[in-house]
């Protein structure tokens, strides 16, 4: 196969006709390179994130043993001697995330099934943008709402005094932040799950109807399993958002590191430690400064795992139906 017959496209007798451009078109190449550079910038951003996290984190582990950091349960950087047991604030984050997801999964999935299977096209066309508005509300506004409305007007009147220590008289609690975060991620779950359900081919639904299935059965037994990877992806992405949410937990969850999943206790989340410690004039070399990066690394790794799972799941369902 070494000699490809190039003369085949050449009309007999005439001058050789080439389909290539008459010039080398260096401008085109330059533009392609420039555009590729824009794409590469995103990879550089990730690299920069990793570099900026890893350097100070290693510095931090020279001062605090890795084991004490990862498995310690006391987070008291301000004490003398300080203790950096990250589990306390990891559990704080998980506490808030747990209650947020318990609210957002049923509400978000219910909305998604309603929009995809029950709503008329007109209702859907108005409801979807309204839910998208919820996604566009700044988190500082949701945090303010959580601490000045959800907590005093909803949780405290409803929560029974005898349950887990009662809710009265507490200015901050994980549950208030959790519900605020839940409200924030409902549109993420609803929107992505709805996309996944709408992508399920009509034929599957019609087949089920022809076999005599009711609407609810079609939604639960046919559409839901068929869209499952998209639905799980939306939930995983929502968890990632909830783990990384800052303003709502800073405003509503308090700043008391505690190893508890009790919803009516004040806690400290990883993000709120970072946001309240790394402000303004913290000195660069201090343990506190480096601890911010160590906590940031933990948070980054946790959300990275979630994001990768979510991205893979989304790709999977795209492959099946497109």
């Amino acid at each position: 196969m070494s000699s490809v017959p190039t003369s085949a496209t050449q009309p007999a007798g005439g001058p050789p006709r080439r389909l290539q451009a008459p010039s080398k078109r260096y401008g085109e190449k330059a533009i392609q390179g420039l555009l590729a550079l824009c794409g590469i910038l995103s990879v550089l951003t990730t690299t920069a994130i990793v570099i900026s996290l890893v350097g100070p984190t290693i510095g931090f582990f020279e001062l605090v043993p890795v084991g004490d950091f990862l498995f310690g349960t006391d987070w008291t950087p301000q004490f003398e001697p300080p203790s950096f047991g990250v589990l306390a604030i990891v559990v704080g984050t998980l506490n808030v995330t747990l209650w947020g997801m318990l609210f957002a999964i049923p509400v978000g999935l219910g909305s998604a099934i309603y929009l995809s299977e029950y709503a008329s096209p007109r209702v859907r066309k108005t409801l979807k943008p309204v839910l998208e508005i919820l996604a566009g509300i700044p988190t500082v506004a949701i945090g303010f709402f959580a601490v000045s409305f959800i907590l005093p007007e909803i949780i405290q009147p409803i929560w029974p005094d005898s349950l887990l220590g009662g809710a009265v008289g507490k200015p901050f609690m994980a549950l208030a932040a959790g519900l605020g975060i839940g409200l924030m991620i409902v549109p993420i779950i609803a929107s992505i799950s709805e996309d996944a359900m709408s992508a399920v081919p009509r034929g599957l639904r019609e087949g089920a109807y022809a076999l005599g299935a009711t609407k609810a059965k079609v939604a639960i037994r046919v559409v839901f399993p068929a869209a499952l990877s998209g639905i799980v992806a939306s939930i995983v992405l929502a968890i990632s958002r909830a783990l990384g949410e800052t303003m709502i937990v800073v405003l509503a969850a308090g700043s008391t590191p505690q190893l508890t999943l009790n919803p009516v206790e004040a806690i400290q989340a990883m993000t709120s430690y970072i946001a309240t410690t790394a402000t303004g004039d913290i000195s660069t070399g201090s343990v506190d400064y480096k601890s911010v990066f160590a906590v940031g690394t933990v948070l980054f790794v946790m959300t990275l795992v979630m994001n990768v799972i979510s991205i893979r799941l989304v790709r999977k369902y795209r492959e099946v139906y497109e």
Partner: protein, 311 residues
């Protein structure tokens, strides 16, 4: 004979219809109840989400209406006189931050999207890497971008110091993946026949992109940019790390080392103060922001519906 068969046919059709309807209507009672309950629960889920949104809006108005006045926009913040305090430096700071974000994000976002959609060979691993990487970046917590800004832009390699431009660059990196993803979708929506037609007429690849693909995808790209900018406008956490401070009583400038403020950061600070006046100020600030963001989002949705092309 034909006359006699017409009523008989009608009778047969009516009978068959009645039987079919009766069969269909005759679902088991349990199914009917279960169906209704299920639909009711779904509706409840939607209503809870809507009620949350409505309660948030109503509460902001109820708390903040007393502080709504022109002073809110024209006066600088003050701890001593909360009744006269406002958001002026924060608003000016936010506008400048956003201007910087747009300058950075529009060319680079569109460039990256064009590369990935028009040039990149999907089978090459590095292009897949860029793609997955952008999807991941879109979901990295905003506070991590704050850490990046602190370590890489304010200090470290770029070493800009705590200036407004550093905050702007941090926000730009934060929303860049959103812009790229939206622009890619808009570019992908342009059908291949348009490109092939242009190429067949002798246009080069770049000429095709510049004169056919880009004009056709501008509405979609603009929608994505507006949504990304409104996200940047409401973002607080990363700014806390890259130097947005609260008691800036003068109008900030992009490169001044005296510090800067931004709308959400100022709201956050007022919200932390327990006194009633500051709570009202925070709520009033939230109203201002929500009005601006709602206007931007509505414009984006309108733009999408108005100029959406059906090929």
């Amino acid at each position: 004979m034909a006359d006699a068969s017409v009523p008989r046919n009608r009778l047969a059709v009516a009978g068959a219809r009645a039987t079919t309807l009766a069969m269909l209507r005759d679902q088991p009672r349990g199914d009917v109840i279960r169906n209704t309950v299920f639909a009711g629960l779904l509706l409840l889920a939607v209503l809870i989400a809507l009620a949350g949104l409505l309660a948030l809006l109503i509460q902001a108005f109820a708390k903040g209406s007393s502080a709504l006045s022109l002073d809110l926009i024209t006066n600088p913040p003050s701890t001593a006189f909360p009744e006269k305090a406002g958001y002026r430096p924060a608003i000016i700071g936010s506008l400048q931050l956003i201007a910087g974000v747009i300058l950075f994000v529009v060319p680079i976002g569109i460039g990256a999207a064009l590369y990935l959609e028009e040039y990149a060979d999907r089978s090459r691993w590095w292009n897949t890497l860029i793609e997955v990487n952008i999807q991941n970046l879109a979901a990295v917590p905003s506070i991590i971008y704050g850490i990046l800004g602190l370590a890489f832009i304010v200090r470290g390699p770029l070493d800009l110091g705590f200036i407004l431009a550093a905050g702007s660059l941090t926000l730009a990196l934060l929303v860049l993946p959103m812009v790229i993803i939206a622009a890619r979708e808009a570019i992908r929506a342009v059908p291949d026949s348009i490109r092939q037609g242009s190429l067949a007429l002798g246009a080069t690849k770049w000429q095709t992109i510049r004169t056919q693909v880009l004009p056709a995808s501008i509405p979609g790209i603009a929608t994505g940019v507006i949504l990304a900018v409104s996200r940047a406008l409401g973002e607080t956490a990363p700014l806390l790390l890259v130097g947005a401070t609260v008691f800036v009583t003068f109008d900030p400038t992009p490169f001044s080392p005296d510090g800067y403020s931004a709308m959400p950061v100022q709201i956050f600070n007022y919200a932390l103060r327990p006194q009633e006046e500051f709570q009202a100020l925070a709520a009033a600030g939230i109203i201002v922001m929500l009005v601006v963001l709602l206007a931007m989002n509505s414009f984006a949705i309108w733009l999408r519906n108005r100029y959406e092309q059906r090929w």
